[in-house]
Amino acid sequence: MKVFTWVCDGFNRHRSGFRTISTALWLTWVCGTGLSLSLSGCDTAKGIDYDGRRILVVDMHLHPGEWDAIPEDTRKFIGSRFPFPLSLNPKTTAEGILSAEGILSELDKARVSQAVLFAVYAPRTVGIATNERVIADTATAPDRLFGLASLRIDNFRTEKDAELQRLRTALANPSMIGIKLAHAHQHFRMDDPTYFGIYQVSSDLKKPVYLHTGSSPFPGTSSEAPYTDPTYLEPAVKAYPGAIFILGHLGYDFTDQQSGSLEACIRLAKTYSNVYLEPSALGSKGSDPTGENLKTAMQKIRDAGLVDRVIYGSDGPQSPGFVKDYLSRTVTAMKASGYTADEAQSVFSGNFARVFRVAPAK
């Protein structure tokens, strides 16, 4: 069965085509929205003030992209999430924030000192941001921008070795500090051993793997538990103790705006020392309007004694000001759940530096 949508809203003639959403931006636009316009940015001092202490911030989850490389459905999705009237000229707005310069400008507005850009290979759902593009972007600010490499898995049955080799080649670039995977968008089960070679690469090269966990509202994504619930990742976590697994979005259920697989994420992190947690996107204005879900999640993580396993990320840039806004929402959630300045320092930069072995920006 094929579903064609003639644009949401209106008698228009565009055929959105197969339900393929795409690009590097994807996930997040998925992951809801948090839209605010930032007018600051003149003060270049990096870091946030947390209970009177200045803490450096690393945002480990950003998506570079090119507007024209984004499939139509995703462009609509993205455009609809920009603040009005920026939504009327989404290309101009997007190009202003998706380039390396745009991302750096968003980081400066948020006073974030370092960030990680994701490569994405999900041609059937959210599209492609190549390793080469990410490497080129990181080269514009080598002490501030780093990258996670990815690989195609849709051709794994025949091209597995070649794809793994391509991944190793990308990771040989010093700016590429880890691997990015999204089972729900790339359509492979978390417990399918066909793909465990990826974790071997992670273990061999000591470069952590970041995985999208939880549901995604994007059309065409796999929403069943083996693709979204990190419980299914447990065999891999057990089999590759030398690989670090970072569970993105804390298993959040973006469709129903509920905690989703949070408990499974916490259990895995408590059980295995190679499991880390990343709280991006779930606390955005669009996905958690009151901020209560992010606060509850951060509280549960702290109560479970897992503060040293949390690595901050936003899932930006999404829209102008989002990187800053998400940071502020996360700080609010952490203060409300009792994180001390030392703990905040671990979440915002300390754990990242330790896990990825990256020196803080000067």
């Binding site: 094929k2 064609f4 008698f11 565009h14 609809s80 009005f84 009327l88």
Partner: protein, 225 residues
């Protein structure tokens, strides 16, 4: 530049001064009734019978053209064309009625019906309607004013599902709500010419969306007063 245009238009609109004073007559002079400046009628609605006005507004992101003509009892049909950055348009016709018309307060209501279309990445088209309240406090040359509105558009969409057994078309309609508020200051240059500057907040597709406030400058002219 604008000032020059204003005065040029003013010269065109004001009745020409007679070269020779009229000869004195024994007829009783008829004093004109009080008329309102165009800027007040355009901003506060409900002009007197025969008074007409046109407003041309430019700003970010809203541009508009608005015309009113009083037909009596402070009732006035009105036409409006509006655009946001040349990508979103609405064409509306409606009625304006002033309920309160005192020397220093005017309150009116407006109802508009029309068509909205947006040509952007996410295009939108459909019938639209709006209810508005206008409140102004004219004092000498100044007309501070407030506009509150609730705009609604119905946006139909069509989804076609192609199965082996055949094609199925599904229609659905979405409601787009835009609460609106403007606060501004009108300036009477003459009875027939005025300006205003205001801050606008049109929260398009509320409450799920976010909107950035706007500002505008408008030029008002008219006659029949």
């Amino acid at each position: 530049m604008l000032t020059a245009a204003v005065f040029a238009l003013q010269a065109a609109l004001e009745p020409a001064t007679p070269i020779d004073p009229p000869a004195p007559t024994s007829q009783v002079e008829i004093l004109p009734l009080r008329t309102d400046p165009v800027v007040l009628d355009q901003l506060a609605g409900g002009p007197a019978k025969g008074a007409w006005g046109v407003s041309v507004q430019a700003g970010y992101p809203w541009f508009s053209l608005r015309a009113l003509v009083g037909v009596g009892h402070r009732l006035a049909p009105l036409l409006e064309v509006e655009s946001a950055l040349g990508r979103r348009f609405s064409f509306s016709a409606g009625l304006s009625l002033a309920w309160v018309d005192r020397p220093h307060v005017r309150l009116s209501g407006e109802v508009l019906l029309g068509w909205m279309l947006q040509e952007a990445e996410l295009s939108k088209r459909g019938p639209s309607g709006e209810l508005r309240l206008r409140l102004a406090f004219p004092v000498r040359w100044a007309v501070p004013y407030l506009v509150l509105g609730t705009r609604h558009a119905l946006l139909p969409s069509r989804t076609q599902i192609i199965r082996e057994a055949g094609t199925e078309t599904q229609w659905s309609v979405r409601h787009e709500w835009t609460p609106w508020g403007s606060v501004g200051l009108g300036i009477r240059i003459s009875q027939r010419i005025g300006l205003d500057v205001a801050a606008d907040y049109g929260w398009v597709d509320a409450p799920a969306s976010v909107a950035i406030p706007g500002v505008h400058l408008a030029f008002h002219f008219g006659g029949g007063r």
